[in-house]
Subunit: 435 residues, 2 copies
């Protein structure tokens, strides 16, 4: 909408000619504006990726953090290491061991959330014009970061088991032939955001094998891996290949507000990451690191993950049952074995971006699929999240969503496919509703 409002903003910005080229690519998405409205309590939000942390033992956490401050306050409130606190890096090895990873604490770099891990990895590897390969679809926050470094994101096709190794090989060959520099493959093998798909173990090995043959670095992002709802975790890709750069996070297994994630990287890469971290923030949040270290040392963190699993399992099952009951013919969706998200494919002819205002009007919010592609795909897709609202709200939300889809189909039947062009928006920052 280049309207009165946009012209007004431009006129007010006396710095408009001073911004860097990367900044000129940053846009506030229309989705974000809608979500400001969608935060009203009467609206069921199936849009957000916020974990539900209501079951945390707050009094116990409060007590242990208070003890930590009283006994060690001048350390936990002081500057710390650019790489992150050594004790926490050791504890992170225990967390990663649950997914089959053997590593050394010296190769772990703590980051201000996993998002900063993405930022720093992109920073040390990517020049403008470099190519990053990503799943099809892929995490909106990663795409925003990749594009902010003026890279080109190329999506690789997927099937029901996630990223397709054959498509990967073809894409790499095509890009190399075109003279492109591929810097890495970005993949979320467990309960992909947004698709909810999981790569089986054999699939992971196939992908690693293609990447090794083609000399493509693998960046494995695994925020949800321990939130498996039906089975034990599948070992991480990093467990099979020490050259994989692995991104971990406490945001979903404990709480996101501390902003503590980590990167496990080969030694040489780790050194560059620490330099980049120091340039970005001097050191990752020190108090947060000690708070999480204290939590891991004093609380039953694995028991807490079990509690989270039970909660999310009920919500996922509720959403899948509601979808099966409510959705009209022609729609399909994924059945995630963990994580937070279901990926819906709408009946042919529907447009999820155009449908969003009608959804909000019907008091249900969701994320249109286009946000998860850098290239304009996803018009027929919707990401629904079951992580935050309780089961009864999920049921109501899915009913409303199905109603909106049905009405769209009726309109289409009456007037034909609405072929009016709609703007394809590239994702930028993800915002709290888009995690």
């Amino acid at each position: 909408m280049v309207t009165e409002h946009s012209r007004h903003d431009t006129r007010l910005d006396r710095f408009v000619d001073s911004y860097s080229q990367r900044t000129n690519g940053m846009r506030v998405s229309a989705v974000r504006a809608l979500f400001a409205v969608a935060n009203r309590p009467e609206i069921v939000s199936l849009a957000g990726g916020m974990p539900n942390i209501k079951d945390l033992p707050l009094p116990e956490i409060a007590g242990s953090i208070a003890d930590m401050i009283t006994s060690n306050g001048t350390q936990v409130m002081q500057y710390g290491s650019g790489q992150g606190e050594p004790a926490l890096r050791e504890q992170i090895l225990d967390v990663m061991a649950l997914e089959g990873i053997t590593a050394h604490a010296d190769d772990v770099v703590i980051t201000a959330g996993s998002q900063q891990g993405l930022d720093l990895v992109t920073r040390i590897f990517c020049d403008p014009g470099d190519v990053i390969l990503a799943e099809s679809p892929s995490y909106v926050g990663a795409l925003g970061t990749f594009l902010s470094y003026q890279t080109e994101v190329v999506h690789v096709g997927s099937d029901e088991d996630g990223l397709d190794p054959t498509a990967l090989r073809e894409t790499v060959a095509r890009l190399k032939k075109a003279g492109k520099r591929i810097k890495f493959l970005y993949t979320i093998p467990n309960f992909n955001n947004p698709s909810g798909k999981t790569q089986p173990w054999e699939r992971r090995l196939d992908i690693l094998s293609v990447c090794a043959e083609e000399g493509v670095l693998v960046v494995e992002d695994n925020p949800y891996g321990l939130l498996t709802l039906d089975a034990d975790p599948i070992p991480a890709m990093r467990s099979a290949d020490a050259d994989v750069i692995y991104l971990g996070s406490f945001s979903k297994t404990f709480a996101p507000g501390f902003r503590v994630g980590w990167v496990l990287a080969p030694h040489a890469v780790r050194e560059k990451l620490v330099l980049a971290q120091e340039s970005a923030t001097l050191c990752p949040p020190v108090f947060s690191q000690f708070a999480i270290s204290t939590y891991l040392a004093t609380q039953d963190w694995q028991g807490q993950i079990e509690i989270y699993r039970d909660m999310y399992r009920e919500r996922r099952d509720t959403m899948l049952h509601a979808l099966a009951e409510e959705m009209p013919d022609g729609a399909s969706w994924t059945r995630p074995a963990g994580g937070f998200f279901v990926w819906v494919t709408l009946p042919e002819g529907l447009d999820s971006q155009a449908m969003l205002p009608r959804g909000v009007n019907a008091r249900v919010a969701f994320v249109p699929g286009g946000a998860f592609y850098a290239d304009g795909q996803g018009a027929r897709n919707v990401r629904l999240s079951y992580c935050f609202p309780p089961a009864d709200r999920i049921r109501i939300g899915v009913q409303r969503f199905a109603d909106v889809v049905r009405r769209e189909l009726e309109v289409m039947d009456t007037f034909g496919i609405d072929a009016s062009p709609h703007e394809l928006r590239r994702p930028t920052g993800p915002g709290p509703d888009l995690t």
Copy 2:
């Protein structure tokens, strides 16, 4: 030192051809390696910029943070706003009011420490090859960040009142004639790191006036402003010009471990900063923000700043007395009216970088002046900090430092000026010892 060690590292790094151009400019400085040794307890470190937070009321802080978790845990441990928590942004207005700033909370962006403010400001404004003007000398951590964005840092001459407006005007003219794009002037008007100099009010107005005439944006970095030791704070540059981008921090007035700073920026710039923040970390540390908000609301934070002032005043006075008593003729130094640092100019012919190993050998650590220049100046300078060690250790440290200088002078008298070339090292990441 391109020795066995460096070659070994390069051979091990199979990613060496994959890094971005900006990464190839990152180097671990020789200073950093020395500081690893310098952390031994027998060494008096006059190198670090760590605030001394021993006087914080730990039990009271522990109690208020525990209450915060018990009563509001699911909010303070959840994702938050990319711009930062609204309540804290309001409280920051009260902090800035102490230096004459009137602003709106909507124009404040919270950052993961002031260092991230520097990173995000550079990110939104600077393309490779753009020029950033900086004081002569300037903060090593800022220089590292600026260079990591492949900018060119040009130092502007200064006199006893800090940055010289006449030199500024000449530098701008010269650069414009050469076709350079100047993106902003970076200045620390209060108790400059490392020079300890303070711009008087009239000087600030003169600098603002030159920048307004020449269309140069001003970035005012003010981490130490409230740690004035002799007089009331001088109003911030931002108080005279709402187009100034102002960087603030709680690291020195409260504690650095929370990693909470902020940027106050004109509205259009603020919007870009929020997008950049979301891309970098989704949101600044939420728990930290609530912890600081709680501290400001429940503790006597202004009284705490008075306690800090008294502590730092004693230390500064101790250092200045010791320097006057101990230093040989031909050396000079600044007399800071606040902050953490004294800037020493060694007698002609001495080289501070070459002197550092001999200093560490004599059990005193300092930062050679070259770290605070992007262009190889500063060989005769040393930054001494009085913030962290207690007074008796400061006295011993200065004695040892003066002894080292004296011995260097004796060697020079005997053998003549050592004209052996020494590597000029560009700063990269600052590290905890270089804040």
